[in-house]
C-alpha cells in the first residue's frame, strides 16, 4: 500500500454459482442428488485492481449487473473474494444501504442505538453522538415515536444522520442520494464536503452522473467485471454513456424486425418491408449523427388506390421528433393511381440531424380523403428501431451542423479602463 492510500485492491475476482433450478420438492432433491448439481457460473469480477486515496471522493459507475455492487460488497467485507487482496487503512463504515438493521417496531431512539451497534459503535459512543444525530435528522420531536410511523423522508434522514456520525474514516454509499428531498440531499452533500475536508474518504456508487461530475475527484467505470476506465469523472461519464449505448445497440440487432401486435389500417395496401439504408445502399441500424441516409418502404397494393401518400415519423421514448411525408418534402412526389397488385418502393433521403439516442420510426401509407382527413391503408407503429451515435459532442437536443468562423476587427488601439 502506498502512503496516502485509504484502500488498495489487488486482483480481486469473484465468481458466483447460480443453480439452474431450485429443488423445491423432496422428490426433485432426491433425483438431483444423483444427477449432480447443475449450475451456471457468473464471473462478477475478473481481477480488479485499483487504489483509493485518502481524503478522496471516489465514484463507482457501471450498468446494472456490471459487478459494481459486488465490488462494493467485497470492499465492505460482506463478500469474500475468490482471489486477490484488499487492504484498508482506517475504520470503514460497514454499511451499504442506509438504515440497515433498523426495526420498524422500535422508536427512533431505540433504532439509533441498535443501528449504531450494527455499525460497530459502543454504547458510550452512541450516547455521545445521540443529540447530534437527532438534530441533524431534524427529528427532535419524534425521538420516541415508532419508526414505522415515520414518513419515508424522516426514515432516510435518521438513517443518514446515524451513518455520517459513525466515526468512520471511509464511507461506502450505494445509491443513498437517490432518496430524500432536494433540501436534505444538499445537506448530505454539504456533509460529504465536510468529510472531505477532514481527510475522510467517500466511495459513492450511483447512477446519477450529476453527483459523479460535481463531487467526485476520480471515478471508475466497471463493466462486465472489469475496469474500463479509472480517472477523471468527465471522461468516466463519457465512457459509461458509450457502454450504455453500445449495449442497447446490441439488444436492437438481436430484435431484427419488430412485429406490430395488431394490424392498423384497412388493408387495401400492405407495407411489405422497410429499411434504413446508408448511401452505399447497405441496411443499417446504427446511424451517425450528421450523415445522410435513406428510408426504403415497399408497399403492395391490394386494390386500386387514388393518390396514395406515404410517411414516416421519428420518435423517441416520449416525443414525436420529425415526420416525413411524400407530399410535403422538399420535392413533393405524387402517384395519381396505384393499381391493384402493384408493388411500389418509396425512398426518403434525409440528413440525420438527430442527436445520439434510441429512436423508433413509424411508417404509414394512406390516401387523402379530404384536405385534412386521411384514410389509413396500413400503419406500422414501431416499424424500425435505430440508434444514433456521434463522433463529436453535443449540448442540447439538436445537431445544427454549425460552422464557426472569426472575423477580427478594431485592434488598432488598446483601451484600458480604470478598475
Amino acid at each position: 500500500m502506498k502512503p496516502g492510500d485509504a484502500i488498495k485492491i489487488e486482483g480481486i475476482s469473484k465468481t458466483f454459482k447460480i443453480p439452474h433450478e431450485k429443488h423445491t420438492t423432496l422428490k426433485q432433491a432426491a433425483l438431483g442428488a444423483f444427477s449432480g448439481k447443475s449450475y451456471e457460473t457468473l464471473e462478477a469480477l475478473k481481477g480488479v485492481s485499483f487504489a483509493v486515496k485518502k481524503g478522496e471522493f471516489f465514484g463507482i459507475i457501471g450498468r446494472n449487473g456490471s459487478g459494481k455492487s459486488t465490488l462494493l460488497k467485497i470492499i465492505a467485507g460482506i463478500y469474500l473474494p475468490d482471489n486477490g487482496k484488499i487492504s484498508v487503512l482506517g475504520k470503514m463504515s460497514p454499511f451499504l444501504e442506509l438504515g440497515a438493521g433498523f426495526n420498524p417496531e422500535l422508536t427512533a431512539r431505540e433504532n439509533v442505538f441498535l443501528g449504531g451497534a450494527i455499525l460497530g459503535l459502543s454504547k458510550k459512543e452512541i450516547k455521545g453522538k445521540f443529540s447530534e444525530i437527532i438534530s441533524f435528522a431534524e427529528l427532535e420531536e419524534f425521538v420516541d415515536m415508532k419508526f414505522k410511523n415515520f414518513s419515508s423522508g424522516m426514515q432516510v434522514r435518521l438513517a443518514f444522520a446515524l451513518a455520517i456520525n459513525a466515526y468512520a474514516d471511509i464511507l461506502l454509499m450505494d445509491e443513498v442520494l437517490a432518496v430524500g428531498d432536494t433540501n436534505f440531499q444538499n445537506k448530505c452533500l454539504e456533509e460529504f464536503a465536510k468529510y472531505k475536508k477532514e481527510g475522510k474518504t467517500v466511495i459513492l456508487v450511483t447512477h446519477s452522473m450529476k453527483y459523479i461530475r460535481e463531487y467526485c475527484d476520480r471515478a471508475v467505470v466497471v463493466d462486465r467485471g472489469d475496469i474500463k476506465y479509472l480517472g477523471s469523472p468527465e471522461r468516466a461519464i463519457d465512457i459509461y454513456n458509450k457502454i450504455n449505448l453500445d449495449e442497447t445497440l446490441e439488444g436492437y440487432q438481436e430484435t431484427e424486425k419488430v412485429i406490430d401486435s395488431e394490424f392498423i389500417g384497412n388493408g387495401k395496401a400492405i407495407i411489405k418491408d422497410q429499411k434504413v439504408l446508408d448511401m452505399g445502399g447497405k441496411e443499417v441500424k446504427k446511424l451517425n449523427s450528421g450523415e445522410k441516409y435513406r428510408i426504403l418502404i415497399t408497399v403492395e397494393f391490394k386494390e386500386d388506390i387514388l393518390s396514395p401518400v406515404f410517411g414516416a415519423m421519428f420518435k423517441d421514448a416520449t416525443h414525436d421528433i420529425y415526420g416525413l411525408h411524400s407530399l410535403y418534402s422538399r420535392n413533393p412526389q405524387k402517384i395519381k393511381l396505384a393499381k391493384k397488385g402493384e408493388i411500389i418502393d418509396i425512398f426518403f433521403d434525409f440528413e440525420n440531424i438527430l442527436i445520439p439516442g434510441n429512436y423508433t420510426i413509424m411508417i404509414a401509407c394512406a390516401t387523402q380523403k379530404s384536405l385534412l382527413g386521411y384514410e389509413i391503408l396500413h400503419l406500422k407503429e414501431k416499424a424500425l428501431r435505430i440508434v444514433v451515435v456521434s463522433k463529436s459532442s453535443f449540448w442540447g437536443p439538436l445537431n445544427m451542423d454549425v460552422k464557426t468562423s472569426f472575423n477580427k476587427k478594431g485592434a488598432r488601439k488598446r483601451v484600458i479602463k480604470n478598475g
Binding site: L26, A100, E105, I118, L119, G120
Partner: protein, 260 residues
C-alpha cells in the same frame, strides 16, 4: 476494543428481540412467565391426575416445573438461533459484522427468559419449603454448561439451515423426539435399564438431572449413577459439539451473504 463493540451489538440485538417478542401485547413480558407456568399446569394435571407418573417422586411438581423450564430454554434457544441467520438475510447482505453475533444474541434472548423463569422456580421452592442445598454452588456452572451446549447445537443449526432449509423441519421433529428421550416429565426410575443408559448419554438429560439433584433433592439420580465410568460422555459431548459447531459456523459464515 473491537470485541467490546460487538459485545454491544450482541446486547442490543438480544434486548431488542426480547422487547419485540412481547411488543404490543397487553401483558408484555408477563407472557414469558405465564407461558411456561401454564404449560407446567397442564402437564402437572395430566401426569398426576390421569397418568399418575409423579406418585413415585417426592416434590413431583417442582421436579416437573424445573424440567419444563429447562427444556423450554433448550427448545426455544435452538429454534430461535436456527433462524437467526436466515431471518436476518437482509441485514447480512448489507452490512458486515461478525456473523456469530446473531446466534449468540438469539441465545441470550432465550437465556434472559430462562433466568426470569428460574427466579420463579426458586420462589416456589421456598414456598414449598424445600431447603437450599450446598450443591447449589454448582448451579452457575450447570447453567454455563447448558448455555454452551444450546449454543453449540445452535451453531450447527444456524449455519446448516442457510444451505439446507430442510434442517428446520428435521429439527422440529428431532426436538420432539428428544423431548421424550429426556426425563422432563417422567422419573428415571420408570425407565428400563438398557434404555436408561442411552437416555443419559444425552447432555440435556444429564443437565436436567443434575439441576434437579442440586435444587430439589440429592436422592434424584444423576448421570454418574447411571453411566458409572462412562459418566464423562455427556460432558465430552457438550465440549465436542460446541467446538465443532463453532468451527462449522465460522467456516460457513464467510458465504452467508451470498447464500442466505
Amino acid at each position: 476494543m473491537e470485541k467490546a463493540k460487538y459485545w454491544n451489538l450482541i446486547k442490543e440485538l438480544a434486548i431488542t428481540d426480547f422487547k419485540l417478542k412481547y411488543n404490543e401485547s397487553v401483558f408484555g413480558y408477563l407472557w414469558s412467565l405465564v407461558k411456561p407456568l401454564l404449560y407446567f399446569v397442564v402437564l402437572y394435571l395430566v401426569f398426576t391426575r390421569i397418568f399418575k407418573l409423579g406418585d413415585s417422586i417426592e416434590n413431583y411438581p417442582l421436579y416437573l416445573l424445573l424440567g419444563v423450564v429447562l427444556w423450554g430454554f433448550f427448545a426455544e434457544a435452538t429454534s430461535m438461533c436456527m433462524q437467526s441467520i436466515v431471518s436476518r438475510g437482509d441485514l447480512i447482505r448489507k452490512v458486515y459484522f461478525p456473523r456469530i453475533v446473531l446466534p449468540v444474541a438469539a441465545s441470550l434472548t432465550s437465556f434472559i427468559a430462562l433466568v426470569i423463569n428460574l427466579i420463579i422456580v426458586f420462589a416456589l421452592l421456598i414456598y414449598f419449603g424445600v431447603g437450599l442445598s450446598p450443591g447449589l454452588i454448582f448451579f452457575p456452572l450447570l447453567l454455563l454448561e447448558f448455555y454452551i451446549f444450546a449454543l453449540g447445537v445452535s451453531f450447527f443449526l444456524a449455519s446448516l439451515i442457510v444451505r439446507f432449509r430442510d434442517i428446520g423441519h428435521i429439527w422440529d421433529v428431532f426436538s420432539q423426539v428428544l423431548f421424550y428421550g429426556t426425563p422432563v416429565i417422567y422419573p428415571l426410575t420408570l425407565v428400563p435399564g438398557k434404555l436408561l443408559n442411552i437416555i443419559m448419554l444425552n447432555p440435556v438429560a444429564q443437565i436436567i438431572q443434575d439441576f434437579r439433584r442440586i435444587v430439589i433433592s440429592s436422592d434424584i439420580p444423576s448421570s454418574s449413577h447411571v453411566l458409572g465410568v462412562y459418566a464423562f460422555i455427556p460432558y465430552l459431548l457438550v465440549v465436542v459439539i460446541f467446538v465443532f459447531g463453532y468451527f462449522v459456523f465460522q467456516k460457513m459464515a464467510a458465504k452467508f451473504a451470498e447464500e442466505v
